[in-house]
């Protein structure tokens, strides 16, 4: 069962020659074969590398099998963004993220399912059928990077890559009981990612442990000459933030009293005790009502979608605009409306002003607290079929994440509770000031190592 190894264990054991790459790939292939049909995890598989594992001993990622969301362009490998418009699109170039992964010795074994164009929070709006949650297949995996979270939960890869605009890494990680890290906007390149909302899109890792996320971020982060919005901020070694003390750290707790969180409030609150035990100071913090972030995000995202998806005309690639699914049509058209003459000021500019209020609010909170924590999602994973006819489904599910997304802040979700009856998880979202991914990793790693909620630490670790 080598597919159950974490990335760190994989790298260590390959290095010590206690496992062989060939055996690892045999188990990965078997895990895919056993589950893909039922759960609909991958949209395409790289059969060549699955059959003949590429030995990359000299490289840091040593040939580890990695799954990538299907909105990252991969040269000579179909990239559909789970949309029928692009069901025949084979990119002629490689996204920076996948290029960097490969240069570091990672091997892309397949492209994972997602909400079409990343427009959703369920992976139920994929044009190629929904993905099911590996923890309990009556439930959805969340989204839009639902396929990437599900392949990690199903041990059908060693680690995965997703992308987040407002919740699309952290929310599926939460619903599938994995770790999802959304870096600061501009920390990881967007070049070659099929654009959704360019002012918030952030690629990042979805992994089995916090340590694995730190390892992958080391290889993803940095300035990219092909993405002018990436920052020249130096990239630290994120693994240095592991196994650090939390003494005297100030943690502000957000959103526990808002409507809709009643059912999980106690379970979540109980988990905060460990921070106090480790010497941190934990107290409730007052933030701007996240309900306002729904409106801001909706207007900004729809507006940016309408311009980003204007390029799909079926001439240079893909099919014509009659092939868009219902959700994409809704979003493009609403964006066109809110940006149109007479409405831009009322909606778009207003949303950008409220975005400023969120930035100011976070700046104030970070004068008092080092990090902010809250539940990732207002609850556990939802049942299959729940998105039907719910036009604001994703926005409501992602409400607790939208404030940090529109502010460009880094955030990480990790498992903080498991319901023994349903086998479903709650996620904890940890947010820090810009470029302080290290701080988030430090807090998350300490939580993970001092609580029983990480399933790989519990069940698979020898």
């Amino acid at each position: 069962m080598l597919n159950q190894l974490t990335l760190k264990q994989t790298l260590d054991q390959l290095d010590q020659k206690t496992v062989s790459l060939t055996d690892l790939y045999v188990d990965i292939k078997q895990a895919i074969l056993n589950q893909d049909k039922k759960l609909n995890l991958y949209l395409s598989l790289n059969e060549t590398v699955l059959k003949n594992p590429q030995k990359k001993k000299q490289k840091p990622l040593a040939g580890a099998p990695i799954a990538v969301k299907d909105n990252f362009c991969t040269q000579d490998m179909r990239t559909s963004a789970a949309s029928k418009v692009l069901n025949n699109f084979v990119p002629s170039y490689e996204s920076t993220v996948t290029k960097k992964l490969q240069q570091a010795g990672g091997v892309i074994i397949g492209k994972t399912n997602m909400d079409a164009w990343a427009h959703g929070s369920s992976t139920e709006t994929s044009d190629f059928g929904r993905t099911l949650n590996p923890r309990n297949s009556d439930y959805l995996p969340g989204g839009s990077s639902g396929g990437s979270a599900a392949v990690v939960a199903a041990d059908a890869c060693i680690a995965a890559i997703g992308s987040e605009t407002a919740g699309s890494i952290r929310q599926p990680a939460s619903w599938c009981g994995c770790v999802g890290l959304k870096p600061t906007y501009g920390r990881v390149s967007r070049f070659g990612v099929i654009a959704m909302a360019s002012s918030t899109d952030s690629p990042g890792p979805i992994t089995k442990t916090v340590e694995d996320a730190a390892i992958l971020l080391n290889h993803l982060a940095g300035k990219d000459p092909y993405d002018a919005t990436t920052s020249a901020q130096p990239v630290p070694d994120y693994t240095q933030a592991l196994n650090q003390p939390l003494k005297d750290l100030k943690i502000g707790v957000l959103y526990l009293d808002i409507e809709g969180l009643e059912k999980i409030k106690t379970q979540f609150k109980d988990q905060l005790q460990v921070f106090s035990d480790l010497g941190a100071k934990v107290e409730p913090a007052q933030a701007l009502d996240p309900h306002y972030a729904i409106g801001v995000y909706t207007v900004i995202q729809r507006g940016e979608v309408s311009s980003n998806l204007a390029r799909f005309d079926g001439i240079r690639y893909g099919h014509d605009r009659s092939h868009f699914g219902d959700e994409a049509k809704r979003r493009i058209m609403l964006g066109t409306f809110t940006l149109s003459k007479g409405y831009a000021d009322q909606y778009y500019n207003l949303a950008q002003k409220v975005r400023t209020l969120f930035l100011q609010n976070f700046a104030k909170l970070f004068t008092k607290y080092d990090v902010l924590v809250s539940p990732t999602s207002p609850g556990f994973a939802k049942k299959v079929g729940v998105t039907q006819g719910a036009v604001m489904f994703g926005e409501l599910e992602d409400m607790l994440l939208e404030p940090s997304s529109i502010a460009g802040l880094p955030g990480l979700s990790l498992p903080c509770y498991r319901n023994p009856k349903t086998n479903l998880y709650l996620g904890m979202n940890i947010v820090a000031p810009m470029w302080q991914e290290e701080l988030i990793i430090k807090v998350a790693d300490a939580f993970e190592k001092n609580t029983p909620w990480n399933s790989w630490r519990n069940h698979h670790e020898k």
Binding site: S92, R355, L357
Partner: protein, 104 residues
Amino acid sequence: MAKTTISPHQVKHVAQLANIPISKKEEQELTQAFTETLAVVNQLKSLKTKNVQPTHQVTGLENILRADKVDQEKMFTQEQALANASQTHQGYFVVPRIIEKQHA
């Protein structure tokens, strides 16, 4: 709270602007979806924003330019550029006619 009412006629106009073909049934459904969504968005109007500057970019980077040099790495060959086109003709993309033929 001010309610924004959207008419099917407006939806049809937006569909034209966005170049998205929609059916009569979709026109009705989208009218409903627009109204529902704008009701959420309208909540923003209750906040005081008169003296607030809008934020378009969160990291504060400005004037990021690249060198004015041809980057061969980033360039497609003609073959690559045409590889995904639905229709090509002698190395060109074929596009649909958008100007009506003149009738004599």
